[in-house]
Subunit: 646 residues, 2 copies
């Protein structure tokens, strides 16, 4: 095959495949993964296809339903456990109502329901007897969840809740899967008992008739309209007009209305556990980010080895592969370094999460605040980074990257909202910053990985390739930015300004800039640690090359910090040289480093990046014959409108 000469690698492929697999999907064995994948590939309804790019919204939603049902059938047939079913989920990068049902509605309910309620609901959900969504955001309130307005007023007489939307802004909005498919919602509403407002609480309620699928009386529900991506997802709106539901629709793990019709707290850790539910959603964004980046890089690196442009001065009869231009390597290999960094960080974040969860199950909440800080930080920068990576890959394919058929525009458009949902990235970074600041006030309680923040400043020394030197540089940038922030905060407070006010008006920009440095210090630290643990020397070398590219590239953002702290221009130039050398060192392994993830053509769904390297014929054929616009020799609209005039 055309690309085969590009497939020799300097590293042991089997060993790398296994190593990566254990980082990204440790709970399913590689054999089992491959087995499931091969079986799933034989079920057409589970696969995406080029038709996707031509669909209307109606067709996209129908397709998502078809996909969801096929997924369910496959799960049952193959008896997949919860981790295994995510393998198949990966076949379609677009979030559908069914995915939200299993991945969002179900775990949220499990977290907040009492034991009795779980018995009532979980089986139904697993069996898809009902279809649920997670309804929190309203037209008027997203980030500020405490500001939501929908009311759940308890009626003591009938022992029911009366749900009502008192204003326009009290319309639930954006709820994935709600528009046309869901029968139920996990609803966040203000709990009101005897006129007293207890703030947002969670309820599970039915919104559509199970027999007819019609909205129940008192429920006004529909799809909010077209978006730039996620066409198959029916993000919906929801309003209530004095809509009654039984008392046990309130999820009762943390609080309930007792026999005296009074509010009663059941678990004093309630808010903390709810916290964990937010953290869980954000963590999955961190854990899953490798996947769209991998798809984007597989497409663009493969394409850059097929695409040739301009005569090669070393061989003027042939054109040069675009991956052999330095600037194309710069675009793609920086993103490759990022991908591997994100993968290396994954197990560390995962174990922070698992530890905190275990402690919490023993009523120990001590790890939670730190976990929240790190997960907010990572959610924010990992999604920013992943999105930038996808777009950089798209642009690197020139014009063809603008065609839906390249697979890249939809990947980008579908990933786009991840910088907004599950916590707007700016707001998360700010939350993280405030926690860092609180740690700086109590340096003795500083977690080990952040001790550098309270170290004494010194100018990092070392070879420009050295991981420890790079790490010290990132830490220097973070430390100095946080120090300046501390000084600034102190100065503002001493002017008599209130803390809440300065954190809205004066410190947000610098706080986020400090967080940026802390993020890179953290993720680079994990990259270094991961490499230390690698046994196979060929893999170790490859990872080290990728790390050098990553460090040298990301350190550039902090050149100002480094130089003002005393690192010389010559040292910065040497770091730059490490970056550029790195591109050339990694080049022979480029294709291997993306194909190792085994993303099949069926999943890439791209006409410009076939595994066999043959693309132009397919492009022409696909555009010509699959495109509804080319069905008739003269486009009907031309006949009708244009011809009579020209």
């Amino acid at each position: 095959m055309a690309l085969d000469s590009e497939r020799n690698t300097t590293f042991n492929k089997d060993a790398l495949r296994l190593l990566l697999h254990n980082k990204i999907m440790p709970t399913v064995s590689l054999e089992r993964l491959r087995e499931i994948r091969e079986k799933a590939k034989k079920v057409p309804d589970l696969l995406v296809s080029f038709e996707k790019y031509h669909m209307t919204r109606e067709q996209s939603i129908n397709n998502a339903i078809k996909h969801g049902l096929a997924w369910k059938a496959f799960m049952d047939k193959e008896n997949l456990n919860r981790d295994e079913r995510r393998v198949v989920l990966g076949f379609n990068t677009e979030l559908s109502g069914h995915m939200l049902h299993y991945e969002f509605f179900l775990p949220s309910l499990e977290l907040q329901a009492s034991q009795e309620q779980k018995e009532k609901w979980v089986q139904k959900i697993e069996n898809l007897e009902i279809l649920g969504c997670y309804a929190q955001t309203e037209l008027g309130h997203g980030s500020n969840v405490r500001g939501i307005e929908i009311e759940a007023r308890y009626d003591e007489k009938t022992q029911e809740f009366v749900f009502h939307s008192p204003t326009i802004t009290a319309t639930k909005w954006w709820i994935g899967g709600l528009g046309v498919v869901s029968t139920h919602a996990l609803l966040v509403a203000r709990l009101i008992i005897k006129g007293q407002d207890y703030g947002p609480h969670a309820f599970v309620i039915q919104i559509r008739d199970l027999a007819t699928h019609e909205p129940l009386p008192g429920v006004d529900v529909g799809d909010i309209g077209p978006k730039i991506g996620l066409h198959g997802n029916d993000n919906g709106y929801l309003r209530f007009e004095y809509f009654r539901q039984p008392k046990d629709s309130m999820l009762n793990r943390f609080a309930k209305i007792n026999a005296n019709d009074e509010y009663e707290i059941i678990d004093p850790n309630a808010m903390k556990i709810l916290y964990l539910s937010l953290i869980r959603a954000r963590s999955s964004l961190i854990f899953d980010a490798w996947y769209p980046i991998t798809i984007a890089l597989t497409i663009s690196i493969r394409y850059s080895l097929i695409r040739e442009q301009f005569p090669d001065p070393e061989n003027p009869k042939k054109e040069k592969k675009i991956l052999d231009y330095q600037i194309q390597r710069y675009k793609l290999f920086r993103m490759l370094g990022r991908l591997y960094a994100i993968i290396c960080a994954r197990p560390f974040i995962k174990s922070l999460y698992t530890q905190a969860e275990e402690k919490l199950n023993n009523s120990d909440v001590s790890d939670l605040a730190f976990l929240h800080c790190i997960v907010s930080l990572y959610k924010s920068y990992v999604t920013f980074n992943a999105l930038e990576a996808i777009e950089e890959c798209r642009r690197s394919c020139g014009g063809h990257g603008y065609m839906m058929l390249s697979g890249l525009p939809s990947l980008y458009a579908e990933y786009l909202p991840s910088v907004t949902y599950d916590g707007d990235n700016s707001i998360l970074a700010l939350q993280s910053a405030r926690y860092f600041m609180s740690l700086l006030r109590k340096p003795k309680q500083m977690p080990e990985t952040l001790e550098y923040l309270s170290e004494n400043p010194s100018i990092p020394q070392g070879d420009a390739h050295c991981p420890i030197f790079h790490q010290k540089c990132f830490e220097l940038a973070a430390r100095n930015r946080f120090r300046r922030l501390v000084v600034r905060e102190r100065a503002l407070l001493s002017q008599g300004k209130k803390k809440d006010i300065i954190w809205n008006s004066d410190l947000q920009v610098e706080a986020i800039e400090a967080c940026e440095a802390a993020y890179y210090a953290s993720i680079h630290g994990y990259f270094v640690k991961s490499i230390l643990a690698i046994q196979d020397q060929s893999i170790k070398n490859t990872f080290e090359n990728l790390r050098q590219i990553f460090a040298a590239s990301e350190l550039e953002r902090f050149n100002g910090e480094l130089a003002r702290a005393g690192i010389t221009g010559e040292t910065l130039d040497r770091i730059k040289a490490v970056q550029l050398e790195g591109f050339d060192k990694i080049r022979p392994d480029a294709l291997g480093l993306v194909e190792i993830f085994e993303v099949d053509d069926e999943v890439l769904n791209s006409v410009i990046a076939k595994k066999n390297g043959l693309i132009y014929q397919d492009m022409l054929r696909t555009s010509k014959y699959l495109n509804p616009l080319n069905k008739e020799r003269v486009f009907p609209g031309v006949k009708k409108q244009l011809k009579p005039k020209i």
Copy 2:
């Protein structure tokens, strides 16, 4: 109206409106512009509408045709000249086939046709008797135009050209307006006479029957398929099978086939003039970039004044306008500074262009290389900047910025390819860099505005607000980057490497980084000059605030350069403070500074940024009633697929 209190400005509105108008549309008077606009607003077919966001591609193309015809009718009725008709063009941000016909096909033909050919074609084009497109790119060749493969073989016997696509990659591809609407194409094909290949030349040929609109025999033409934006544009493909066209289809201003059937050059400046045609297209991207940024900022600043989120610590009963969070100001006001910078640079680039064109008309090509360098540089960074601005605005609207109805996603998707077409930005920046390098080799011929590149280094001194200090800082960054590049080039050459090779493999990254600094030095220089010329003190102050935001924000990219050259950390902190203060200073004028452009609700086409400040009711109504998905109480696909299963 809700927003009225935000509409008081510190500057004189009429004076600013006129000043801006003269920079962005100097050839049409402001009165005339307003007159045309008011008339056009009464022609429904000229306006976009929310329906746009719901259309299939078929509908989008029909709509584009309708719009194109209405535009033509309006032009005729109001007797618009070429500059005036662009006013109406601005009503729709999406490039349509008709726009390409008038703005691309026509001027390209005028430039390359002989006098006789102009007489034959121009009137037909103006009258829309034919509809044309510009067909250069092929499936296999975009940036490398010299590599195109379609052949125009001259047949002496019949005195005709035989057009043929010898390979799959020789398929014309991406051609705007070609897919279903065009009747003619300005085709770039290899001219072959008596077996000798003269390389790419321009032809004007008919591809569809004027009576039936069917493709002529030997012509295989169609639409290439869906894209992430520009749904109404039928980018097309085109193949020929021994397709014959008359001898005069070759455009003859520069060269022709003479009576002896020999190739004859008519104008020795041919290639240079062709150059100007490329420069013309790139210049329009620079000249027009203010417009999408203005739309994006009008939507997002207005929305940020309507949207409130989180209780205001200074007034806990109310929520805070999101524009009053520092990080929101950071997002939007940096982009506002950029917008004004780009507008200030516009007349300077325009006059460079006009001068070079005038000289060229007198056969003096001396300005052309420099113009090409500057236009390439600006095309590259202005489009990058504009795109980033639109996306930053979109994200700043939170979830609602992801809805098509906000107007932002389509604006972004439609602007996206501008970093690729009319010259891929990386390649343009590289061309620019090589010209800068050639200037550095002949410092005596250095144009005045670039003299700083060969000045002796010194550490800039001055107040952190001072325009001259900022300018010196930008220049320092550019000078030092280019100096290092010169040193690197010299070292590589002295290792015996060939120049062509190192400019593919070794210097591209640093060359582009040097260009980045040169761009900011140039545009900031124009900003400063423009402010010097302002009479009205209130406007001068406002511009100076915007310039400070711009300078302080964009200088941050060069903090490494500044610090290593000896600028102290305290100075960098002071520049940062200038940025943050700047946000607060500009805040009272924020709405005024975007509304001054008078972009009407009809053009914004956004449900989240109505002039009257009332949005939520409209959002709900529009989503509910305009959305085809909500037509039936139960979505048909649910009834058909889902109900039988759950």
